[in-house]
Amino acid sequence: MAAKRLLFLIPVLVFVGVGIGLALGLTRDPSVLPSALIDKPVPDFELPPIEGLDGPGLSTEDLEGEVSLVNVFASWCVPCRVEHPLLERLAEQGVTIYGINYKDPADKAAAWLGEMGNPYAKIGADRSGRVAIDWGVYGVPETFVIDRHGRIRHRHVGPLQARDLDGMILPMLAELNE
């Protein structure tokens, strides 16, 4: 009889299990997609500099030999404006940040950097957006953590916020730099 009672508990347990699973699912942000490129080498690319700006452009070789961040940005992207001061602060702290300027007219990009400051060690101009597609970018801004072997270790979608830096990016950089 006791065993039979326990049998009736099975549906309850299944229900609780499914409920917990769905509740956890609700806490996830569906607009944030996992990157298919985690732990893979950065894609082969070579981008020219932003026209009218001094600098060498950006290519795959630049991302090897040193831990760095790659930030995809555009002057027309409002959230980029939000995260920009954080990038500036990171650069001041000695973090190497490379920029991919996404689908941006050269004069607009140059003006934006003049106004907001330029935290990027090197910037590649991706006028067609093709290189960004090779990186699996689907929204701007996106930020990638690259290890010293030139592999993508982490991707952040959307504007970086202080809690993303403290909770994820900075510890990761510290670990990769060890």
Partner: protein
């Protein structure tokens, strides 16, 4: 007249799905066979910005870029599978609106059938167990038989 209007309306209705696709005229390939393949591929590839639309339906910038890439690769002679691979290498399997059947997605594909089978077996066991016992045929007693006989005879009498 009415019939003609009806035919016209039907023609419009049938042409609507094609017209609704987001593909711009300047994207369309000259080769209708390749264009059809591009459309079919576009319908099964997810626009990552709008997520529940295919790149064939979406007007997002990224969707347009992806449609262009699909067409470029078709022109370069890639197979449909190669194009799907090109995109999953960049965006993961999420880019496929129809997930592939593989160990990680077995739950997704076969889970519902498993639930159906388990529930069906459960229902079967339950119904078997609770089937009402077959009525036991007890012969009528002598009294009952006499009463039944009396009632039947009464019934048989012609009514006044």
């Amino acid at each position: 007249m009415r019939r003609r209007l009806a035919i016209l309306a039907l023609a419009f209705a049938l042409s609507a799905p094609g017209a609704l696709a987001a593909t711009n005229p300047d994207e369309i390939l000259a080769d209708p066979v390749l264009e059809q393949r591009a459309r079919d591929l576009g319908k099964e590839l997810r626009c990552l910005v709008c997520q529940n639309q295919s790149i064939d339906d979406s007007d997002a910038d990224l969707a347009r870029d992806l449609r262009r890439i699909v067409r470029e690769r078709l022109l370069a002679g890639d197979s449909d599978a190669e194009i799907r691979e090109f995109l999953t290498a960049r965006y993961g399997e999420f880019v496929l609106l129809k997930p592939p059947v593989e160990p990680a997605t077995f739950g997704l594909w076969f889970g519902p059938f498993l639930v159906l089978v388990v529930a069906g077996l459960g229902a079967l066991v339950y119904l078997r167990r609770n089937r009402p016992a077959a009525p036991i045929a007890v012969p009528l007693s002598a009294d009952e038989r006499a009463r039944l006989q009396a009632l039947l005879e009464e019934e048989a009498k012609p009514s006044h």
